[in-house]
């Protein structure tokens, strides 16, 4: 085992039940709601499309009628972080809660722009509250997708190594960003992932700007198989597209956390949103709206999807290693490195 791999400290778990102390959290949320009501509306930076976010906002306001939650969509990834830095430096109104990945949160944490909150003190489990900088809201799950009309079930890939078969040369697609492959490094180690990506590049993969067009192109038969995401494949699946999802092990996942910026105007409101999204009620509503669920909360589809599977993800505290790995893999994909 390489030193780097040791440093990565593979975070592999078999998903099990993680009960939440519902009564304690309810009390805490009610108290937070009372405090939040005194500080005005709550601003939430997140990436879901408005029509999806509207459902979450409506459910939240139904649950907490005294509060007004405003969702501001930011799909740029990095731009969420940049925006919070600029708004905080300029003493402008910034988010009260932000939902994003660890790689984006870490630079904010280093700049002391994220409030350290004892999330476990609200009754959340260690899985849901792995660090004080954020609480787990959802995880994106990387899967294999293939076209069922053009690929026979016997030929369909079932493991990550099956994707390296020569028959997919020029017919395999993947997201131009290598977050999924990078997440595999938590279990495989960086050297194995580098070798894997090189072999994948030898197959002349079609690179796509997001996993949504990837799923659509697999569904349309433009490409036969893809290294995709579970939630982005759900839309063509619901429309009856000839598409199938395969959960290959270890399952790479990327977790999104909800965090409260230090300069939040309504920190109680922000904490409340993060906490509510980590309850069974909030997680279900979030998943129903966005197709992205919380693998640590039983009752979600994502929990069921991953039940019994070994997953591979960087721990929250390993955001720096994660960012370095993603950077390395992204460069390999961009340059189509094969050796």
């Amino acid at each position: 085992m390489s030193a780097f791999r040791l440093a990565l400290c593979a975070f592999t778990i078999v998903v099990g039940s993680s009960p939440i102390h519902a009564a304690g959290i309810d009390d805490a949320m009610n108290k937070l709601a009372d405090e939040a009501a005194k500080s005005g509306d709550i601003i939430w930076y997140e990436s879901s499309p408005d029509d999806q976010a509207d459902k979450i906002v409506a459910a939240f306001q139904k649950r907490f009628p005294k509060l007004k939650l405003e969702h501001i969509r930011d799909t740029g990834g990095n731009s969420i972080g940049g925006r919070i830095v600029q708004e905080s430096q300029g003493n402008a109104r910034t988010a009260d809660v932000v939902t994003t990945g660890a790689a984006i949160l870490l630079p904010l944490v280093e700049r002391k722009l994220i409030k350290q909150i004892d999330w476990r003190g609200y009754g959340l489990t260690d899985d849901l509250a792995p660090w004080q900088s954020g609480v787990v809201t959802t995880s994106v799950v990387y899967v294999i997708v293939y076209n069922t009309s053009l690929v026979k079930e016997a030929d369909a890939p079932t493991t990550w190594n099956d994707l390296l078969n020569q028959r997919w040369d020029g017919k395999i697609g993947m997201w131009v960003r290598g977050e999924g492959q990078s997440a595999l490094a938590a279990v495989w180690g960086i050297d194995k992932v580098i070798d894997y990506v090189r072999k994948m590049n030898q197959l002349h993969p079609v690179l796509l700007p997001s996993t949504f067009p990837l799923a659509q192109q697999v569904a349309a038969g433009e490409i036969l198989v893809g290294f995709g995401l579970n939630h982005s494949a759900q839309i063509p699946l619901r429309r009856g597209a000839p598409l199938k999802i395969v959960v290959a092990e270890p399952v790479p996942i990327g977790t999104l956390y909800s965090s409260v910026p230090t300069k939040a105007q309504n920190p109680s409101g922000g904490t409340l949103v993060g906490l509510w999204l980590a309850t069974a009620e909030g997680a279900k509503i979030y998943e129903d709206a966005t197709d992205r669920g919380n693998p640590f909360i039983s009752g979600t589809k994502t929990y069921d999807l991953l039940r019994g599977h070994a997953i591979s993800q960087f721990a929250a505290g390993q955001a720096a290693q994660e960012a370095a790995t993603v950077q390395r893999i992204n460069k390999m994909i961009e340059s189509r490195e094969t050796q």
Partner: protein, 368 residues
């Protein structure tokens, strides 16, 4: 009032001086206001850009100073390739736009192309459509995987693979060139429309052939307009994002603009790399300022090339003869990305059929 003036002695002179000083101050107000407005709109963002480029974190209000952003941005092994691709894209698309713009301006303003008014309007139609639609439309036509035109050609001619790839540098140059044609046309139209036919007649009378007329009369007259259009198109080609974004990024072909977009949005570090972006932008700014200065000089001396005449004139219309069909095809193809005519613009037959002066050719005048 009169008494007060008399008592004071110098009062009227002082009041006049005060009025004069006030009027003088008032004269400075408009330029001062304009200066403040420009400073707010241009200098302030520029100052923040420069400041960001020297900040370790890339944000203007971060602490500390560094040159690391410059060394990282310009020391990247991929930087020379990025610069080269950017220049190829800018020069290529400007050249395509200029050639098509000259052809269309000549056809519409100086030939007897039927329906000139309609063509005039149609050439400008792309300016009224969102710029991002053009690369999307061409991606639908010539994407190597699912482009309609590629599929038809592959099927009809049994090609092993798609003959065209719009997600390539030549594809980007081609589409950006087309996108800039209306601008080129607008720049060149006045020059074509205002050419004094007496100069052409004089040249023909003096024995100039077609090539001689073009080389020694038309090109020198048109040169300032062509050059200023070229510089303007080059500036636009350097800053546009639609085509590099839609056609280049999926194929990982980056020009300066799309690289800046990538560094802001998709760099894996978690925060936009404003420091490197600012360093690149400073270089970019230098290039654009140089081009802007060149453009300013070109347009400033444009009056040197004015034709001084003492009477009104109408530019002579050149007959196209049978080439009118081809010419119409060119004008048509410019406005319909769905036709292959756009790819094979036919100007050469027009050149061959070029008859400078109906009934007054030099041969007819017995000069050669």
């Amino acid at each position: 009032m009169t008494a007060a003036v008399d008592d004071a002695g110098f009062a009227p002179v002082a009041a006049t001086r005060r009025d004069g000083r006030t009027a003088e101050w008032l004269r400075f107000l408009p330029p001062l206001g304009m200066g403040l407005l420009l400073a707010d709109l241009v200098l302030l963002p520029l100052a923040l850009l420069v400041l960001s480029s020297f900040r370790p974190g890339g944000f203007p209000f971060d602490s500390g100073f560094t040159l690391a952003n410059y060394t990282t941005a310009f020391g990247d092994p991929g930087f020379p390739a990025l610069l080269w691709t950017t220049l190829l894209f800018a020069f290529g698309s400007s050249s395509v736009a200029l050639m098509l713009g000259i052809g269309l301006a000549w056809l519409i303003e100086r030939s007897d192309l039927p329906g000139r008014e309609a063509w005039r309007g149609l050439v400008l139609v792309p300016m009224a459509t969102p710029p991002i639609l053009l690369p999307i439309a061409w991606a639908m036509l010539l994407s190597p995987r699912n482009g309609i035109l590629n599929q038809i050609l592959t099927y009809v001619f049994a090609f092993g693979k798609a003959p065209f790839d719009i997600h390539s540098l030549p594809g980007m140059v081609f589409v950006q060139g087309l996108a800039l044609v209306p601008t080129a046309y607008l720049f060149l139209t006045p020059a074509f429309a205002n050419m004094d036919p007496s100069l052409e007649e004089a040249a023909m009378t003096a024995g100039a052939g077609t090539w001689g007329l073009i080389r020694r009369v038309m090109v020198p007259i048109l040169w300032p307009a062509i050059l200023s259009a070229a510089i303007f198109l080059l500036i636009v080609s350097l800053v546009v994002f639609d085509v590099p974004g839609v056609l280049g990024i999926p194929a990982r072909i980056f020009v300066m603009c799309s690289q800046i977009f990538y560094l802001i949005n998709s760099s894996p570090g978690g925060l936009p790399l404003y420091g490197q972006v600012s360093a690149l932008a400073i270089l970019f700014l230098g290039i654009l300022l140089a081009l802007g200065f060149a453009y300013h000089r070109m347009t400033r001396h444009a009056q040197r090339y004015r034709t001084v005449t003492g009477k009104g004139f109408r530019p002579r219309m050149f007959p196209l003869g049978r080439s009118r069909i081809s010419a119409r095809k060119e004008a048509c193809g410019r406005n319909s990305p769905a036709t292959t005519d756009q790819i094979k613009v036919q100007i050469s037959p027009i050149g061959r059929k070029y008859q400078p002066i109906r009934g007054h050719s030099s041969a007819a005048l017995g000069l050669r």
